[in-house]
Amino acid sequence: MNLWSFFWQKIYEINWVLPALIYMLGLIGVAMIFAATDGVWNHGAQQHLVRLIMAGGLMIFVALIDIRVWYHLAYPIYAGALALLAGVHYFGVVKNGSRRWLDLGITDIQPSEIMKLAIVLALARYYHDLGKDRVSHVFGLFGALVLIAMPAQFILQQPDLGTTLLLTMTALAMVFLAGINWRVIVAGLATAAVAVPLFVRFGLQEYQRKRIMTFFDPSIDPTGAGYHITQSKIALGSGGVSGKGFMQGTQRQLEYVPENRTDFIFTVIGEEFGLVGGLITMLLYMMLIGICVWMALQCRHRFSQLLVLGLTATFSLYVFINLAMVMGLAPVVGVPLPLISYGGTVILTVMTGFGLMLSAHLYMQSELPRGGR
């Protein structure tokens, strides 16, 4: 078969509804960053658009690579990411009080972002190979625990509570999807009920605990961490049903909501386009997530299914945590709104993830090594 025609064949077969939705959300992001920076084109909006386009190329590139390649690369990628995390732990660059970046000379990278994808790849491969019956087996459980705990503890120590939670919750969703026994789930929940308070007490940094406390009562610290939540609620609330109009938000103009270009971008949507704008944005996310789930269920092997569902879970958790945080339903943990928030790393992670999903869907007929039973 001619490689060129194969390429076009595959391009044609890509599920283009997904990129379409992605770019609708991405363009909302461009417009909102434009508004958040007082209508200055090159204070983020332009960069965001360029990044979306470049990451889109990456997404297609990832999508075109056969899922079997990704299957075989799953563990090496995971191992590499883990090594980088260990590297960060020992040689990382400290920015804003936490050690998240690794200076590679040319650029700084954030290995925890790579791990977000790697953990999904590794767990998908693990459960594919393990087979359904041994999921609840002691060794099966132990293997998954090791795969999850190793990166989780590195990221927690950076310290980066948001990413740790995101990673752990994604992993738990995959364990659940892999078919873990309900009895184990109940036992796990019981353990968590005991362990979580202990973890909060002993496992968290002071500032992380404070963030959680101020979430429950923002008035504890109205100018510090509580300030974000309060001002963000004011911005949303003052938007009303139809909003103040594009570029008309006073909270936004007067710089009351900090980081409204990045994590708090939804406040700009809420203030300027009101409930209508907010719900439309949420609807687009729902459609995007729905298509991902539909794509997963079309796949034929466990690896692809778990990969797509795991990546969908990661993406959904981004959206849920960010929206809940902005609306004052969750603590401020520094999770961006994917595709809309300004920030290069997130776009790269999310678009690579979508590339993997598209690849799984595109190559759903590929033969994978038979999973254990």
Binding site: G179, G237, V241, E255, L275, I289, A313, L329
Partner: protein
């Protein structure tokens, strides 16, 4: 490869999670609805709160004018230049550019740098104020080339008469922490606001201050003003003008009379208690105090033996000396223990026990009656009175005449002086028994007796008035309570006043001048006093009395005079003390006489004297 069972389970579980996801979206949507619809109004209000601030607008301070409408204190445009740090790239370069136009001292540069560090980058920092019009206009021309430099016109307090009214007016300054604590007016927290700190500026603060205006401004999160929203009903209300009873030309005349001398004088309307002149010499320039005086200059003024900061007219306490003799005289007449025709023989001294008390005239006055005792100011006559009347009686008369008490003129810091009696000495002196020697000293206005120029003027005004216990005031429109009746026998007062007339108008009187007060022959009445600063020492007694002129300035006698005019229908009373001015018949009498003359002229009661009678220094700066 595809296990049906497995796939069913995964599909089911993915649908469970999807359901959970839809549930979360539902929750988020509900929350958004709650925030944006149900609580929209609350949050809109909060957003407006965020957005708007009220800035306090400082009102114009009321002016202070004299009775004739001469402006004594006003607000002048103050030219200043400010610097907005965020618009400046290189502070040093900018400052040196400014220094090409106006001089900037090193401490000023240092202060500017400190202020810039202290405040947010957009807050204007004062570079220099009180600029001359020339400097200000030069800066205005250069300003567009120097980014961040803003020439501004503000309001500053100015005193057109420079110093003549400084003790009456006081001055304004930045609010002190104690002011801010006691006064909740938001104006006090404004950096450009100035509060009255002394004198009328402080006494009439509430009337002069006005009401703060409010300017609605839109601010961003760091407090930068984005826009202004003026509202008509929130304008600042300017303070009210305050008129004083003071007569500016008279006060200036008084200052001219004093010249280089130190002391105080007060002229009072004997009918109303209006203070026409209240002068303390030397004075200082209130404008310098407002614009900021260097600590070196301040130290020099503070160590000046002539104490320019002390308001001697109301706070300087001096022995009234012989001007106190009217009190003793009136007390003697009231008690009936003396017959006006009775003569006391003055040999130049009196002996009490083994102690000799001298009359000021060493060779004595011979036989003197009551009226002559005042005319010649014979001390021995009053030593004789000390044997006859008790100090408590004299104290009572002195208080009825207004001595020994302070008067609230609306300018604070006033002294009450001292009129002693038995009870006072019992309480305040270790040697508590009132002795004859104490009375002898007190009856000639020495010893424990102390009074201020204001009190002496009040005493004289009450004697001249004869009936009402007038009380002085300086601010027109203040509630003046009805004056009480003094209850002196008019016949007795006539004797006292006639004696005072003879002091000035009859040859032999200690203040006799061969000059009429006016062409129409208006008579004046008065009394001289020579306040001893040091007792006569034993060595002086041995070597003979050292003449006053030969003493060091600070040991010389105080020159004191009280008087009123016209004699027939009194209008004005004066009390003057010239510190270390020598005999009361000299400096104090001259000044008082000139003031009575001038005040009568100003009120049209006498015609101004011919030109050759004009002041010695024509066209002075005052």
């Amino acid at each position: 490869m595809i296990e049906g069972n497995d796939n069913v389970s995964l599909t089911r579980r993915s649908l469970i999670l999807s359901g959970g996801g839809i549930g979360i979206f539902g929750l988020l949507g509900t929350r958004l609805y709650h925030l944006q619809v149900r609580r929209a109004e609350d949050y809109s209000a909060l957003s407006e709160n965020n957005r708007f601030n009220y800035n306090i607008i400082v009102p114009s301070r009321g002016r202070i004018l004299d009775r004739g409408g001469n402006v004594l204190a006003l607000n002048r445009q103050d030219y200043r230049v400010e610097l907005i740090a965020e618009q400046v790239k290189d502070i040093d370069l900018t400052l040196s550019k400014i220094a090409e136009v106006i001089t900037l001292s090193d401490p000023t540069r240092e202060r500017i740098r400190k202020d810039i560090k202290k405040h947010a980058k957009f807050v204007p920092v004062l570079v220099e104020d009180h600029l001359s019009w020339e400097d200000f206009s030069a800066l205005n021309i250069r300003a567009p080339e120097i980014p961040g430099v803003v020439p501004k016109v503000g309001e500053g307090r100015a005193y057109p008469y420079n110093g003549v009214f400084c003790h009456v007016l006081g001055e304004v300054g930045k609010a002190k922490p104690s002011d801010v604590e006691n006064d909740k007016d938001p104006l006090l927290r404004q950096p450009t606001f100035r509060i009255g700190q002394s004198g009328v500026e402080k006494g009439a603060e509430q009337r002069l201050r006005g009401k703060a205006g409010r300017l609605k401004v839109e601010v961003n999160a760091v407090g930068r003003i984005v826009r202004e929203w003026p509202e008509a009903n929130n304008r600042a209300k300017a303070g009210a003008d305050v008129y004083l009873t003071i007569d500016a030309p008279l006060q200036e005349h008084a200052a001219e009379q004093f010249g280089e001398d130190s002391g105080g004088t007060v002229v009072i309307d004997v009918q109303t208690g209006e203070v026409r002149t209240l002068l303390s010499m030397p004075f200082y320039d209130g404008n310098r105090m407002v614009s900021g005086i260097s600590s070196e200059e301040l130290a020099v003024m503070n160590s000046d033996p002539k104490t320019p900061f002390n308001n001697k007219a109301v706070r300087g306490v001096y022995p009234p000396a012989s001007t106190f003799k009217m009190v003793v005289m009136l007390a003697a007449l009231e008690t009936g223990l003396v017959n006006p025709e009775e003569r006391v023989i003055c040999t130049g001294h009196t002996k009490v026990g083994n102690k000799k008390f001298h009359c000021w005239r060493r060779r004595g006055h011979g036989p003197v009656n009551l009226v002559q005792s005042l005319q010649y100011s014979c001390d021995v006559y009053y030593y004789e009175m000390a044997h006859r009347i008790g100090i408590d009686t004299v104290h009572d008369v002195a208080v009825r005449l207004g001595l020994g008490q302070s008067y609230d003129l609306g300018i604070q810091s006033r002294a009450s002086g001292l009129i002693p009696n038995r009870a006072w000495k019992q309480k305040n002196r270790r040697d508590g028994w009132w002795r004859l020697g104490d009375s002898i000293n007190a009856f000639i206005g020495q010893g424990y007796v102390l009074s201020t120029p204001l009190q002496l003027a009040v005493m004289t005004a009450r004697l001249a008035n004869g009936q009402q216990a007038i009380r002085p005031h300086v601010i027109i429109g203040e509630n003046i309570p009805e004056f009480a009746d003094m209850n002196f026998d008019p016949a007795h007062l006539d004797i006292v006043r006639e004696s005072m007339r003879q002091v000035c108008m009859v040859p032999g009187g200690t203040a006799y001048r061969d000059l009429p007060l006016g062409p129409s022959g208006v008579d004046m009445a008065g009394k001289t006093g020579t306040g001893q600063v040091t007792g006569i020492s034993a060595s002086e007694r041995a070597t003979g009395v050292v003449h006053n002129r030969d003493k060091e300035w600070r040991f010389r006698d105080h020159s004191i005079f009280v008087g009123f005019a016209p004699f027939e229908s009194p209008r004005f009373a004066v009390g003057t003390i010239v510190e270390h001015g020598g005999s009361g018949s000299g400096r104090a009498a001259d000044i008082s006489r000139a003031l009575l003359q001038k005040s009568l002229e100003l009120d049209g009661l006498i015609v101004p004297p011919p030109a050759e009678e004009s002041p010695k220094e024509p066209g002075g700066t005052l």
